[in-house]
Symmetry: C2
Subunit: 161 residues, 2 copies
């Protein structure tokens, strides 16, 4: 004899609402960037050299590979990234940021951070960190996604602003 869950006890519901809210604010910040919020994520992924090929980035971001193609077309058209042949595998393309791309990324990064803080405003500072950390662990380690890399967060020094 159990009592059915209230809607607002449903993880999916909360997840959906928060994600939508975040997406909406992010959309404002990245307005003008080709590909919208995902364009930003592509830049971010390409920037830390861990995943470089189109497919790897696509998997990490959860987008279809065919979508990745025109996403990159637009970003490349805007002069933010370049497709370079992968020296190790001539089928693959390495996605690397241009100087403009790196600048743009840094700028977006800062503005998105601010937006995130606004989104998380109702939580205490310590709670915000907790939330970030828990989500990060779920997203990296947990995702039954096939592409679960389970990467440890290491210090990297590439391309500071």
């Amino acid at each position: 004899m159990t009592t059915p869950q209230r809607v607002d006890a449903d993880l999916g519901w909360a997840l959906g609402r928060v994600t939508r809210a975040h997406l909406r604010t992010a959309q404002e910040v990245v307005s003008g960037l080709p590909g919208g919020p995902r364009g930003y994520q592509v830049l971010a992924a390409a920037n830390d050299g861990e995943v470089t090929t189109q497919l790897a980035i696509a998997r990490m971001l959860g987008v279809d590979r065919t979508v990745m193609t025109y996403l990159l077309d637009e970003l490349e058209g805007a002069g933010l990234v370049e497709r370079r042949p992968d020296p190790a595998d001539r089928r693959a393309r390495r996605v690397v940021l241009t100087a403009t791309g790196r600048e743009r990324l840094c700028d977006l990064d800062r503005r998105l951070r601010e937006a995130e803080e606004r989104l998380l405003a109702p939580l205490e500072p310590a709670e915000r960190d907790t939330l970030r950390e828990l989500l990060r662990r779920l997203a990296t380690g947990a995702a039954h996604d096939g592409a679960s890399a389970c990467q440890v967060a290491e210090e990297i020094g590439t391309g500071d602003c």
Copy 2:
């Protein structure tokens, strides 16, 4: 002089991955239910009598009102909900669960709970509660959504299984 964020430090990225992962598992559980995961959420929302009209439910779930129409068409066609005229406002329809709907909801509830636990497996039990709680607070109180009800979680006794 800041260093650009790593992808996996991005809240949007983590949120997206976790949401997608959750959606995928949820999809399996509710396979066969009209409207998929959102069909479930409609049932859940209609079940606790706080929000009953179509529009209110639509706003709470973040779906367009025109979408709500055919969502309910399907659920009604499956005999899970009924549209009743709202005695207080003859424009509005009250969405109420049928007996079958309530049974189905209880069953789905249980199975979704299990799925959620699997999703949250990489976290400690205490951490899972923390995550749920933080997300819930963001979703209810925080959402700059217009429909931020800021409801206190009160005990309700309606319709246990």
